[in-house]
Structure formats: structure tokens, C-alpha cells
């Protein structure tokens, strides 16, 4: 399950945010602290996560301390899906 979440996130970020559809993002690759995803795209990512996985993301969570790679984001999503 987390693998498929990661794959969906990777595909969205590569094609919609980075505009490089073939770009691979490793599950442990830093995406916020590295500057790969800029602050203007963070809200996009949160809206995508909410719509796609039916979980809530708070704006206070949109920082590298809460998640900085796909692994961490996928596990946040998975934990919330289990709760609901």
C-alpha cells in the first residue's frame, strides 16, 4: 500500500509540480529542504493529497519538519487513512 501511495505522489510531483514527467523521485530523497518543491507548490501538494487519499492536511504541517520525503508523507497519509 505505501508503495502505491509513493508512486502516485511521485507521478504527481514529477509531472505537475516539476514539469519533468520522467523525473524519478527516490522515497528517501529530500523534497522540501532541498528546494525541489517550492513553497508555492506546497499548498498544491496538500490539496492533491486531500483529494486523492481522502485525508486532511493542516497548513501548519507543510514544512520539512513534518515531512521531507515521499516515505514520510506516505506514512502520514496511511496512518490517517487507517483512522478514518
Amino acid at each position: 500500500m505505501p508503495d502505491s501511495i509513493i508512486a502516485i505522489l511521485e507521478q504527481h510531483i514529477a509531472s505537475k509540480i516539476l514539469k519533468q514527467p520522467n523525473r524519478r523521485i527516490k522515497p528517501d530523497e529530500a523534497i522540501i529542504s532541498s528546494g525541489l518543491i517550492d513553497s508555492f507548490s506546497l499548498v498544491d501538494l496538500a490539496l492533491f493529497v486531500e483529494d486523492t487519499f481522502n485525508v486532511r492536511m493542516d497548513d501548519s504541517e507543510l514544512n520539512a519538519q513534518t515531512f521531507d520525503n515521499l516515505d514520510q508523507l506516505a506514512s502520514i497519509i496511511q496512518t490517517r487513512q487507517k483512522k478514518s
Binding site: 519533468q20 528546494g35 525541489l36 517550492d38 513553497s39 508555492f40 507548490s41 498544491d44 507543510l62 520539512a64
Partner: protein
Amino acid sequence: MTFSERLQSHLGRTPERVAVYLQHSGQPDLPITYRQLLRGANAYARTFAREKLQPGEVVILILQHGVDLIYSFWGAVLHGAIPSIMPFLTEKLSPERYRADLAALISVTKPAAVVTYPEFEAEVRAALKHGDSVRAVIVTNKLELQADPDFNALAGMNRSENDIVLLQHSSGTTGLQKGVALSHRAIFNQLDAYGQALNLNNGDVIVSWLPLYHDMGLIAGFLLPILSGVPLVLSSPFEWVRAPYKLMQSVSQYKGTLSWLPNFAYNFCAQKIRDRSLEGLDLSSWRAVINCSEPVRWESHQAFYERFKSYGLKLDALQCSYAMAENVFGVTQTDLSRPPKVEEIDREAFMTERVARAPVNGRPAMKMMSSGRPLANTRIRVLDEHGRDVGDGKIGEIALQSDCMLTGYYNRPDATKKAFHDGWYLTGDYGYVSEGEVFVSGRKKDMIIVGGKNVYPQDLESLTYEVPGVHPGRSVAFGIFNDEAGTEDVVIIAEVDSEDSAEQDRIADLIRRHVTKNSAIALRHVKVVGPKWILKTSSGKTARSANKEKFLKELELQG
């Protein structure tokens, strides 16, 4: 009148009136009355005196959104020192680059002191050199106590209105920055003229998240309200970009009447706010949301209006201004009683003849939105390359004259001299005048304006050359307008020897990371190509517009 005298007058008449409602995510809003503002500022003024800072000396403020930034700014004013706010280091920017920028700023501006947090003191000291101008690094936990000011003892009360009151640094990415030096008199003249254009009154409430190191945030979103006695609800760009709905919530809660936004923010708000964040909000108090600091787009206003009209937003509230730090802030302002005028002009005539005229027989048209008429104290001319007036409807460089111009670029007499021609300030912006209204159409230089921030392509190209595998002279940077975002996307193209696509992707990644870390500019498209992709002029210079066209064509072919 000086800033200190104005503050003294507010304190005397309305000490308990709230000057600023300071907002922080996850905390209740903090109301700061004029009395509290002056007590907090006085603690800084006394600290500056303790550190032997002299009136007329520059103090650099390296602080984030919060009370210390506000108090230290006004503390410097009360002490008669010249505050200048520098952006704080963000996650995006590398500390090395930040240090280099700070060192460059110090070498030109020659500040006597820097104010920062204790946690950041080491970072500031790392940018200092033996024998430079900085005599004190003042940290926010070693201040004198807050107390009601004794105006007789405050050095700021002895300033004259022609003295420089603050420096506003332009937002160049790298290299030598220009600090716009403004006098008390210039700022009050601007506030009078601009306030008149806005019909500013004591029912107004200004809501802003704009950064105070930028002229729009500093003047419209800080000095105008505080000096005019109009309440300010102040958040930060850091919080707004993560939670844009909070702007609407604040307007509804405080019955906000005036806000300023760069063009992209209209699109951002229209696209990225959920219905659930808007439930029960009333935006009918908003009498002007003023589009300023990047090219204004009618489409952006439409999108914003469609998204928020069911929450009470009035169509007349969407307005425009053309502004620049060199005129303190506003140069023009649209008439708030009606929507900005929109002209349809012939696209080809605009491009090739530099004329704005109505399209004939269904030829391709473009919509130009007015930035309004010049303020009462400001005069405008539109000039051709020989400095002659071009006449109505013709595109040329906008020049201006007013009683609120900069004193000069601080310690840069060369740059100051270059900016003026026969007593007129040359803006570097292209535009035209139609029936007394100014329409701004572009920049003279290849500057990219992304999210209200000015970026010089040559700065980004230089950074690209620092990436292993990219040869000097074989990179080109430019902006392409993104209709969805309402601002420009930054494109970098770099030539490398390798034709291998995996190797090219690897270098593209390195470029993206390196340029962003050193400029704090996010890149949308990074294209690494094999030899001989980039077009050069006959003299060997990179032709940005030709490369931009080639890039756009390829993008189109890819679908």
C-alpha cells in the same frame, strides 16, 4: 513633520488605539496599541543609545515577522538611526550565499549595527570582516527595559524632515544591492498623495501579509497604516503561502477595507482555497484589493472575483496601482469608485509598431488593464529612446517626477546619477498613456518578475555556470508567462557536452538545486540540452528572446 513627531502625536491623542493586530499561525492575534508600540520601540531606542549608535547611522534588521521586527524598526526611528530590513535566511537559500549577500550589503551600506536573534548571531558575525563598519550586533534578548518614552531625551526628535529616515533595498538576487534612501518629507508627501487617491479615512482597516523588506509591504502594509492611525492586521508571506484562506478570514473578522497583492496572488487565492475555509465569511467590507508590483492582468481579477463574489466581494474592489520604491511607493492609482479601465489593443501593432490601438476586423487582440492616473504629486512622461515624448497611445519608457522621490541610492552616487535624465527618473518600465491613464506593458531590460520579485536572468545564468558540466556562456534564463499562475515561470536552458539523457537529467537536477539554493528562486523548467542548441547573436551574445521562442515551440510540439 518627522516620523517621531507623528508617533508622539498618536501616543498623545490615542494611546489605547490598536496600531497593529499581529498574527501568528496557531496563536491568538496580538493587538499592539500605540502606547505598547512606543514602549516596545523605546526599549530598542535605549538599547541603540547604550550601544553608542549615532543618529544618522544605519542599522540592519535581520528578523522574521514578529514584535521584534516592529519594535526595532520604530526604535531605530525614535533614536534617529536609519533602519533597513533585510530578508531573513529561509530554508530555500544556502547559508553561504546569504552570508555573501549580507557581506556585500554591509560593504556598500556601511551599517553601524545589526539586530538579530541570539540563535542567528553567529551567522551574522560570520559575514563581518575586521575593520568593517559594524560596531555592534544587537541580540533580541539583551535589550533595555520597555518604558514610556521620554520624548525630550530621544535623539529621533531632533531629526529634520529632509533627513533620511529609512533604506529600502531592492530585491536583486545577487551582486551589489541598491538601497533606496527616503526622507521623512518624501514619505509623508507620498502618504498624503496616496491616501488622497484612496480616500483613506478613519473607518479603514488594512490587512496585509506582505514582507516588510519589500516596498509594497513596508509602505502600504506598514507605514501607511501606522503613521496614518489606521489599524493594520499583519501576517507574513510564510504563513500566507501555506494558508491563503487566512487573508479572507482576517478581512471578514476585522472588516478589512484595503489590501495590496501582487498579480499572482489573485490566481493563487482563486485556485487554492477550499470552500470549507470560506464558510460564513463576509468580504463585503473590502473596498479595494490593489494589484501592484508585477504586470496586472484582467484575467487574474476575473478569476478572483468569480471565486469570491458569493462571499460578498464587490467587483469595484478590484483595483490597480503602479508603484516603485524610488517614488516611495505609488506612482498611479485607479479610481476606486469603478473597476479599472480595460483596453483591447491590436497584438501585432503593439509588438511591431509599439502602438496601442484597437484591433480591426477581428485581428488578434490583447487586453491591457489600466494602472490608473498619476497621484496628485506625481507627473508622468512616456519617452522614446532619444528622450522625446512619444504622445498618447504610443509605447515608450515611463519617466516620472514628484515631491516624494528618493534622496538617492545610499552610498551609490553613480547609480543615482544614472537613474535620472534632466531631472526625470527613468523607470525602466515600458508603457503608454491613454486618456490620462497609465498602462504598463513591460520592462526595458530582460528582467523576469516572478511572484512580485525581480530577477535578473544574468544572475541565474551565472549560477548555472557554477554547476559542473555546464560551460560558461552556454546557458540562458528567461521567464514565460504562466496564465494559470498569473505570473512568470522561470526557465533555464543549459548546454552540456553529453547527449546522454540520464546524464542530462542528472545535471538538470544539480542546476535546479544549485540555482534555487543561491537565489531562492524556484525554477519551473530546467532543460539540459546537447551542444549547439542555444542560439547566439552574430556578436556571440545569448539572444534570450530567440531562445525563448525556440523553447516555446518545442514545448508546443511536445503537447
